[in-house]
Structures are given as C-alpha cells and as structure tokens.
C-alpha cells in the first residue's frame, strides 16, 4: 500500500444553526478552503468521499449526488459512507484506502451535516424537533420505543456499569472533563460556545441520566469540514508539511448485544485502536501520542476512550483527569478544540473536525492554543450512538 497524507484542511465555525447556507453551500465552502489550503487546483482532485450521517435531518435522500454536482466534480467517482456518529471515521478509512490502493491520487473527503432545520411545531422548539427526528438512528425495534436519549443510553450501557466494575470515574472527574473542554473551546474561535464554567456549574446543571448532566453532554450543531488526501508522491509535490495517516481501523462490536463482557466497555474502540496502533507502530500510547481527539458525546465516553485507547488501565481514566494529563498543557491533551461538549457536534462531522484539529496542531499553526509537539503523533477516535461502531486513526508528521 502507498503512504497517504493529509495535505489540506477546511473548516467552518460551529453553529447551533446555520440559516445562512443550505447543506450544499456549507459543503462547498469547506471544500473550497481545503483545496486552497492544499494549494492545488480543483482539477487535480480525482475522487470524492462523503461522510453524511442522516438524510431526514437535511430532508434529502441520496444527498451525495446533489453535493457532487454542486461541487462541480462531474465525472469523478464518489462514495458516501454512513456509520452514525462514527461515520466520519469510517468514511475517512475509506478515503485513505482509495489513495493507499492507487485507485486515487488526490481524494477530497467531505464531512457534512445540518441538524438545526428540524423543528417541533407543537412545542416550537428546534431541540425537540432534533430529538424527534434523530431517534430513527437508534434500533427502532428494540431500543427506540423504550430508551430515554443517547446520553441516557451511553450512561446506562457504558458509564454506570464501568463505574461499578472498575470503581471510576467519579462525578467530580466527569465534571472536570467538561470544564477542560469548555476552557479549550473558549480559546477556539471556531467553537460554538465561549463560556467559562466551574465544576460546580457542571454538576448543578440538569441531570439527563445519572450521573450525566446537561453540561456533561454534547451540543448539537450544523457543521462541515473537508480534508484533502494525497499519495506520497503527490503529497511531497504539494506541501512540505504533510501529515501522514500512519494507521486507521474500524471495528463494529454491537454493545446492544448486551453480553456480560461488553457491558461497561467500548470494546469496538479497544479493537480498532489495537489494529490502528499495530499499523502505525504505536506501542505505548501514553508516551508516544501528543494529543487525542475522542468521542465526548458524554464526558463518560471521553474517559472510557482514554482507557480503551490504552493510555491507562481500565478504571484509571479518572486518574488521568485528576493528574491533568489530558489538559491542554498535559502530557496527552484530549479534545483541545473543545470537543463535542463545547466546540460542536453533529454525527458524521465532529470526528472529522477532530482530524483537522490534529493536523493543525501537528503543523503547529494554533498560536496561543498550540500544544507541545514532541512525538509528532495524534489519534482521532469516534463512536456511534450505540457505542457499537468505532473508528481510530493515527496521524503523524
């Protein structure tokens, strides 16, 4: 297989609602930025991969065909991948494979989703509309009629049994992760929220499903971002700062199968991480990674991700929080963009934004937000709302 690098990125500020642009224009804007960042011509692109999670949110089935036309990529191959909120990772692996295999030399990867057009005319609420509209993402036969919410599902299947089996994390540690992510978002001009909060604010916010509170849960947003992937030959022509994709893997491990070993774990993330690390030659992640962008749909899944990514033993994720390891100035900063808790979240996009954040940080373009780069390696991880589909990718400069 050929080496593959990210040679261009394009992002747009996260908004709860972007009424100024339809999904087509939102997509074009970030592709335009990514192509400009790569300093290539649009004509150099020979393949397009889309991560678009949900059709009902944008009131449009088969959106990639419309997007391909709007982007003016007539005649090029296109592929859309959906895997819930892990879709951006699954699609990224597919984009990588196209270039690594030689099917493509330069692939544009576009992650795109609007959710803010949902509306509940009875309660006159976009949030209620969003809840109503996205529920079809969950298992409509066995879960959707009886489950409370995605944060409630993840609290019950992952977090609470993890606390009981492994003795942590504690509610105080869960709150501290929120404070960290709010602080990180405060300094990120593209974040949806710019608020200073205390652990007390987090703990006192409304409980969704114990121990998870509103402010330990993700935002919902309209968002898009694009990355340009190139083969080694092309990458070296295009840029002197290629960020290589040195390992990528996905694993689908159904948590809803609900067997004793899987409860309280995110085994898909563990399996995907082992595969991606093997490919990238990562042996001791805590000493070899400079940053991680992980799936903080609730702060509980961020801490579980530390453990499943092998930064520490099971049950020790809360200790990393207490020791400040995952703070921006810590040994392995996590979600330095502000994460899904405070920067922005919509399925199919936020993991891709995390990939863009890793690229920026490894290129050392983040100004005051810049982390210390020692090993030149970062990891992006994402899961879907069932915590069943997992994706892990290793980036390296």
């Amino acid at each position: 297989m050929r080496k593959v690098a990210v040679v261009g990125i394009g992002t747009t500020p996260w908004k709860m609602r972007n009424a100024e642009r339809t999904f087509r224009s939102l997509g074009l804007q970030v592709v335009k930025k990514a192509i400009a960042d790569a300093k290539i011509a649009k004509q150099d692109v020979d393949n397009v991969v889309y991560s678009i999670y949900c059709e009902s949110m944008i009131r449009q089935q088969i959106p990639s065909v419309l997007m391909q036309d709007y982007l003016g990529f007539q005649g090029l191959p296109s592929l859309r991948i959906e895997a819930g909120a892990a879709g951006e990772g699954y699609a990224f692996s597919a984009a990588y494979a196209h270039v690594a295999s030689g099917l493509s030399d330069i692939t544009v990867y576009l992650a795109l989703q609007k959710g803010g057009d949902f509306y509940d005319f009875n309660t006159r609420s976009r949030g209620d509309g969003f809840q109503n509209g996205m529920f079809i993402s969950m298992d409509t036969t066995w879960l959707q009629p009886v489950m409370p919410s995605v944060p409630g599902f993840l609290s019950t299947f992952c977090l609470v049994p993890h606390m009981e089996k492994y003795g942590g994390p504690t509610p105080a540690q869960l709150a501290r992760v929120s404070v960290k992510n709010y602080n990180n978002a405060y300094d990120n001009p593209e974040a949806q929220l710019h608020q200073k909060v205390t652990a007390e604010d987090i703990l006192k916010s409304r409980i969704i499903s114990w121990p998870t509170t509103t402010r330990m849960s993700c935002l919902y947003s309209d968002g898009a971002c694009a990355l340009v992937l190139a083969s080694e030959d092309k990458a070296r022509e295009i840029t002197d700062k290629p960020i290589w994709i040195s390992g990528t893997a996905t694993s689908t491990y159904a948590l809803a199968r609900a067997e004793p070993d899987s409860i309280g774990r995110m085994l898909g993330t563990h399996i995907a991480a082992q595969r991606a690390y093997k490919m990238a030659g990562v042996k001791k992640p805590i000493d070899e990674l400079d940053l991680i962008q992980v799936h903080d749909l609730i702060t509980g899944t961020e801490i579980l991700a530390y453990e499943e990514l092998g930064l520490c033993e099971l049950g020790q994720g809360g200790r990393l929080v207490d020791e400040g390891i995952t703070e921006r100035d810590g040994k392995v900063p996590a979600n330095v963009d502000g994460g899904r808790i405070a920067c922005g979240h919509v399925g199919g996009v936020s993991g891709a934004y995390g990939a863009c954040e890793i690229v920026r940080q490894l290129r050392e373009e983040c100004g005051d937000r810049q982390i210390r780069v020692r090993n030149g390696r970062g990891v992006m991880q994402c899961i879907d709302g069932h915590a069943s589909m997992s994706s892990v990718t290793v980036f390296e400069r």
Binding site: F135, W142, P145, V146, P148, S209, T214, E259, G264
Partner: protein
Amino acid sequence: MKKIDSPLELEYRDWKPEYLYSLGELSPFFRAIINDKQLMTSQCPKCKKRWMPPRGECPDCYEDVQWVPISGVGTVVCCSYVYFKGHGVELLGYLDLPYVYALIHLDGTDTYLSHGIKPKSQKMGEIKTGTRVKAVFKDSRRGTIGDFYFVPVD
C-alpha cells in the same frame, strides 16, 4: 405582503412517512405479548444460547430459533435514573420522571434486555444492580417492546 430580509425559512410539515410495518420472523414474540401477556426468548437449537432481545436466527450458528416462554422476572444488571424525557418513547405516560433505564437479565435468558422500570418511590437508589423486577403489560398492546415495562418485585 410583509418584506422578508433574513434567510428565508420554509415550513415543512408534510414529510411524515407512515408505515404498516411487518414484524416478520419476530411475530411469534409480539403475538404472545398481545394475545397472552407472555414474554418469550429465542433459543438456538444448536448452541442452546437464549437471546434477549430475541432474534429469528442465531447470529453465531445461523440456525432458526425455537421460541421458549419465560417468566418475565429478572435481575437489574446496571441502571441509570432518567430525568430527561426523550421523545418518541412509548413509556411516557406510564413512567413519571425520574424513572429508571436498565439492563435486565431476565430469568432463563443469556443476554440482557434494556428497558424502563417504574420505581416505587422517586428517591434515587431504590432500584440498583441486583434488584429483582417483573414485567407489567399495558392494557392496550400493539406489538412493540413498549407494550410492557418493569416494576420491582414485591
């Protein structure tokens, strides 16, 4: 007409798909709920594993399952107290907030069912890992997993 100068927003109330949705191979499970207030598990004739929620075929052996009645009594594996009403939840109206969302190990099965429990009191801690619960069926049943919910065994 009043002139509009902000991004134009168009109301859509028409996109509401309706279904007459086949329950196919799961029909024996839901028929027993509707007709007899009876829960059943599906057992693989080859590996003998009893799946809950049930399946028409064993995912490990690909064998057609056999349907086996169970008592509807089980043990809480893990749970969370729910303070936020999701939407589209068929238990609303039966379970007040806070209610309990739990994984339940039903007697005579090998995997766990996720479902709602109606606690006796509103005080957190009454339902916990190890609590024994039983299924209670709604008077009106139509063939969904929301046709019943759980309460603590007296």
